[in-house]
C-alpha cells in the first residue's frame, strides 16, 4: 500500500549533518524477573521528530524513564551533545534540558496556568515572585506556541485535556527543553486538539527542539515523524527514515518473530455459550461491545493499552456498572452490580495489576488463596483453619507454586508465583467464566509456560476463558478465537487458524483513527 506524501514539512528530515543532541548506546535494563531492555540504541538530532515504535512491553516506556532520569541503566551510555551524562534523578534530567510529557499529566489543578508553567522556577524580584513578569512570560511562551486562547490566570483544573496538555508543553519549554519526549500524546485528544498538537510539534521542530514521539497510531508517524525506530521484546530492531518505509514494513519489524512451540493449547471440545455480552457501553472507555464466550473456549482479546479491554472486563465483573447493554449468563440476562455478585454468578477476574488489585501483599499465602472463598473454608462464619490450610496446600501442589510454605507472606514471592496465587484464589471459587487480564505480564518464561498449561487444563474442564493480553505470540498460541479491540470497540474477529501477527497488529493500530482525514 503506497503511503501518500503528507503536506507540510513532515517527512523531510533535517540534513544529515544536524548535530546529535541525544545518543543512547548499548543500554540494558532489567527488573526483578524481566529483562526490559537488551543493548538498545537510540539517537536524536536537533530539530527532528523521531518516533519510537513497538508493542506493549517492547521497552519503550523503560527507555523513556531512563532518558528522563527515573531509572538508571544497568549498562550503556547516555550522551547529550556529545558529553556523557548520568542522571541521578528526574530533576537532573530536567536541568539538562530533557522534558517529558506523560499520559498522566503532572499538573496542580488548583493553581493557574501561569503558576503551573513556572512552578519551582518562577521569575523573582526583591519581594518574591515577580507576578507580572511571570504572567507576561507565560503569555509569551503560549504565543510562541501559537496558542492565543488560553488565559494564564485560569485555574488548570477547569481546562480540557487538550488545553492541559498544552500547558504541560509550555511548562517543558519554560525550562528550555531541548529534548521533548511525548508518550502517547494523542491518546485522549479530540481531532481538533490533535491538529493543534501537530502544529505545535512542527513549530518546535523548526526551532531545533528534538522530539521523541511515541505513538501506536501509524498514520501519525507518517504525518509527523522524520525517522522511526522500532523496538521489539526489549531489543533494538531498526531505524529508518520515514520516507523510506511504509506501514506493512513497520508492522513486520514490530512483530516479526518466530513463534516457538511455547504454547501448548490443546484441542478441547467447545461447548455451549456461557457468557454473552450484547452492546455493552461504559463511557468513556467502552462503546458497544458484543461477544460470546463458550465453555472450553479461550478467547484472546488483543488491543493497545487504552483500547478499553480492562474496562470491559471490569464491567463484566461488576466493579463498574455498564451504562447500557445486556449481559447473559447461561442464557439468562443478569445485572451485575458488584464483584460479590459476579463471584456468586460464577465469574472470576484475575486483574491486570496483581500487586494492588490481586493480592493483599502483607498477608500470607494461605490467607490470600482463601480471600475470595472465605465462606467455603468456614463453618458458619468461623474460619476453619484446617480447611484453609488444606486449600492452600492443594493449591500449591496443583499450581506448582514455589513458596516456603502456606504461611509465607506473598510479598516475597516472585512475580510468577504471585500470579499463581491469584489464579488459585479465583479457581477456588469454581468459576464458569474466567477473565484473565495480562496473565503472564512480567513473568519469566518458565512460569509463563506453566500458566499456559494451567489455562489449557481449565479450558479442558469446561471453563470459558477470556484472555486479555498484549503479547501477540501468547494470543496466537493460546486462543481459539481472537478478538481485537480498538478505542472501545471490537474491530476484528479471527479464528485461530486464520490469524497472523501482522493481521492482528494491523487491526490494533489500523488507520481508521481520527487522523484519517487530516491534511
Amino acid at each position: 500500500m503506497q503511503q501518500e506524501s503528507a503536506g507540510g514539512t513532515a517527512g523531510i528530515a533535517p540534513a544529515p549533518g544536524a548535530p546529535l543532541v541525544l545518543e543512547l548506546a548499548d543500554i540494558s535494563k532489567s527488573f526483578p524477573g524481566v529483562q526490559a531492555l537488551k543493548a538498545v540504541r537510540f539517537d536524536m538530532r536537533a530539530g527532528e521528530v523521531h518516533a519510537l515504535l513497538g508493542e506493549n512491553g517492547a521497552g519503550k516506556s523503560t527507555l523513556i524513564k531512563i532518558v528522563s532520569g527515573v531509572h538508571r541503566p544497568d549498562q550503556g551510555s547516555i550522551r547529550i551533545d556529545g558529553h556523557e551524562v548520568a542522571f541521578g534523578s528526574p530533576l537532573e534530567a530536567q536541568r539538562a534540558g530533557i522534558a517529558t510529557i506523560y499520559q498522566e499529566l503532572l499538573l496542580f489543578p488548583e493553581l493557574t496556568v501561569a503558576e503551573n508553567i513556572f512552578m519551582g522556577h518562577a521569575p523573582r524580584n526583591r519581594f518574591g515572585i515577580d507576578w507580572p513578569r511571570m504572567r507576561a512570560q507565560a503569555r509569551a511562551l503560549l504565543a510562541s506556541l501559537d496558542i492565543h486562547d488560553l488565559d494564564v490566570n485560569q485555574v488548570v483544573g477547569t481546562l480540557s485535556v487538550g488545553n492541559r496538555q498544552r500547558v504541560e508543553i509550555a511548562k517543558a519549554l519554560s525550562q528550555n527543553a531541548r529534548i521533548l519526549i511525548m508518550d502517547e500524546p494523542t491518546a485522549a485528544l479530540t481531532e481538533r486538539d490533535v491538529e493543534r498538537l501537530f502544529a505545535i510539534v512542527r513549530l518546535l521542530r523548526a526551532r531545533g527542539v528534538g522530539i521523541v514521539y511515541i505513538s501506536h497510531r501509524l498514520e501519525e508517524i507518517f504525518l509527523l515523524a522524520d525517522r522511526v525506530t522500532v523496538f521489539r521484546d526489549g531489543e533494538y530492531v531498526a531505524t529508518k527514515q520515514v520516507r523510506d518505509t511504509d506501514r506493512d514494513d513497520l508492522i513486520q519489524m514490530m512483530v516479526g518473530r518466530r513463534i516457538d512451540a511455547l504454547f501448548p493449547k490443546f484441542e478441547v471440545p467447545i461447548g455451549e455459550p456461557v457468557l454473552e455480552l450484547r452492546n455493552i457501553v461504559r463511557k468513556p472507555a467502552t462503546g458497544g461491545v458484543s461477544l460470546t464466550l463458550r465453555a472450553g473456549e479461550i478467547v484472546g482479546l488483543a488491543g493497545l493499552v487504552g483500547s478499553g479491554r480492562s474496562e470491559l472486563a471490569q464491567v463484566v465483573f461488576g466493579i463498574t456498572p455498564a451504562d447500557s447493554g445486556e449481559i447473559r449468563l447461561g442464557g439468562h440476562a443478569v445485572i451485575i452490580r458488584n464483584p460479590a455478585q459476579a463471584k456468586r454468578l460464577g465469574i472470576a477476574y484475575v486483574p491486570e495489576d496483581r500487586g494492588t488489585q490481586g493480592l493483599v501483599r502483607p498477608m500470607q499465602l494461605k490467607e490470600n488463596v482463601s480471600l475470595a472463598v472465605l465462606a467455603r473454608v468456614s463453618k458458619r462464619t468461623f474460619i476453619d483453619r484446617a480447611a484453609e490450610a488444606a486449600l492452600a496446600a492443594t493449591s500449591i501442589q496443583k499450581f506448582g507454586i514455589r513458596a516456603s510454605g502456606i504461611g509465607q507472606v506473598v510479598n516475597k514471592l516472585s512475580g510468577g508465583n504471585q500470579q499463581k496465587v491469584v489464579l488459585s484464589k479465583w479457581l477456588a471459587s469454581g468459576p464458569k467464566v474466567l477473565i484473565l487480564d495480562e496473565p503472564t505480564r512480567g513473568i519469566d518464561v518458565g512460569a509463563k509456560a506453566e500458566i499456559h498449561r494451567l489455562m489449557s487444563e481449565l479450558a479442558g474442564q469446561g471453563i470459558a476463558i477470556l484472555m486479555i493480553s498484549s503479547e501477540l505470540t501468547e494470543i496466537m498460541g493460546m486462543s481459539d478465537r481472537i478478538l481485537v479491540m480498538r478505542e472501545g470497540r471490537i474491530v476484528a474477529d479471527f479464528a485461530r487458524a486464520a490469524a497472523t501477527q501482522e493481521a492482528i497488529a494491523a487491526a490494533m493500530m489500523s488507520s481508521a483513527g481520527p487522523m484519517a482525514l487530516a491534511s
Partner: protein, 302 residues
C-alpha cells in the same frame, strides 16, 4: 515492657495499688474506655478512625436522661432509645464514609462537633438526676463480688476477639486495612462491613454512656469529653497500627488495662487527675513512634 516497669514502680510506691479491692475498682472504671476501644480496634484496623465516640457517648447519656425525665418515657424505654441513638449516630458516620466517601477523619471530626452540639442543645446544660435504685446496679453494683459492668466488658472482649481473629468478617477487616482495592476486587462486601463497624462503634459508645450514667448517677452533656484520646491511645498502645491492617483485641485489652492502671497509679502517688491526661497524650505519641519504628525495621528486613 517499659510500661510494665513503670507500673511496678508505681505499685511499690503505694501499698493500695495491688489490693484486690483497688484492682476491681479499676476494672469498674475502665469499662467505658474498654467497651469503646473494642470497635475502635476494628475501625483502626481498616485504616479508618472514629473521633466522635466521646460525643456519641455524651449524646446518648443526654438522650437517656431527657427521654426519661422530660419526655416521660419509662426508664427501660429511655435506655433503649439511648442505645438506638448511639447506633444511629454510628450508622450515619458509616453511611457518609462509605456512600459519600468522606474521609473518616473529616467525617468523624464533623460529627464530633455535631453530636456534642446536639447533646448541649438538647440539655441546655442542665443535668439530670434522681434515677431509681435499680438503675445503678449496672454501674455501681457487683455480681459475685465483681463489678457488674466488668462482666459485660469481659463478654464483649470475648466476642470481639472471636470476631476479629476467627471469623470471615475479621479477616476481611484486615484485608481492607492492608489493601482496600484488592479486598473489593476479591468480592468482599467492603462498604457493608465498614458501615457495620462504625455503627458498632456508635452502639458501644451509647452503651458506655449508659454505664457511665449508671455509675456516676447523673447525666451531663459534657460526658465523654476526651474519651477518644483514651480509646485511641489504648488501641495504639496495644499494637494496632494507625495505618491499618495490623492489630488485635488482645493487644487493645492490654492497652486499656495498662492505661487504667497507669492513671490509677499516678493518682495514688499524688498526681492530680488532670495531669494524667498529659501522660496519656505522651503515651499516645510514643506508642506511635515505637510502632512506626518497629514496623519500618521489620519492613526493611524483608
Amino acid at each position: 515492657m517499659i510500661l510494665a516497669a513503670a507500673l511496678i514502680v508505681l505499685a511499690l510506691q503505694s501499698e493500695q495499688f495491688l489490693t484486690v479491692d483497688n484492682l476491681l475498682n479499676q476494672g469498674r472504671l475502665m469499662t467505658e474506655i474498654g467497651l469503646v476501644a473494642l470497635p475502635m480496634t476494628f475501625v483502626i484496623v481498616t485504616g479508618g478512625i472514629d473521633l466522635s465516640v466521646g460525643s456519641i457517648m455524651g449524646l446518648c447519656a443526654i438522650v437517656l436522661g431527657y427521654s426519661w425525665k422530660n419526655l416521660g418515657l419509662p426508664l427501660e424505654g429511655a435506655i433503649v432509645v439511648a442505645l438506638a441513638t448511639g447506633t444511629a449516630a454510628g450508622f450515619v458516620n458509616g453511611w457518609f464514609i462509605t456512600r459519600v466517601k468522606v474521609p473518616p477523619l473529616i467525617m468523624t471530626l464533623a460529627s464530633l462537633a455535631l453530636y456534642r452540639g446536639l447533646a448541649e442543645g438538647i440539655s441546655q446544660a442542665h443535668s439530670v438526676r434522681g434515677y431509681p435504685e435499680w438503675f445503678f446496679v449496672l454501674g455501681q453494683g457487683d455480681v459475685m463480688g465483681v463489678p457488674t459492668q466488668l462482666w459485660l466488658l469481659l463478654l464483649a472482649i470475648v466476642i470481639a476477639w472471636t470476631v476479629l481473629a476467627r471469623t470471615i468478617f475479621g479477616r476481611a477487616l484486615y484485608a481492607i486495612g492492608h489493601n482496600e482495592t484488592a479486598a473489593r476486587f476479591s468480592g468482599l462486601p467492603v462498604d457493608r462491613y465498614k458501615t457495620a463497624i462504625y455503627t458498632f462503634s456508635g452502639f458501644m459508645a451509647g452503651l458506655a454512656g449508659f454505664i457511665f450514667v449508671s455509675r456516676v448517677s447523673t447525666t451531663r452533656s459534657d460526658m465523654g469529653t476526651g474519651l477518644e484520646l483514651d480509646v485511641i491511645a489504648a488501641v495504639v498502645l496495644g499494637g494496632t497500627s494507625i495505618f491499618g491492617g495490623v492489630g488485635t483485641i488482645a493487644g487493645t485489652t492490654i492497652g486499656f488495662v495498662l492505661i487504667q492502671l497507669l492513671k490509677n497509679g499516678l493518682a495514688l502517688t499524688g498526681v492530680k487527675g488532670d495531669a494524667t491526661i498529659v501522660v496519656i497524650g505522651t503515651v499516645l505519641i510514643l506508642s506511635i513512634l515505637i510502632t512506626n519504628f518497629v514496623q519500618a525495621r521489620r519492613a526493611g528486613e524483608r
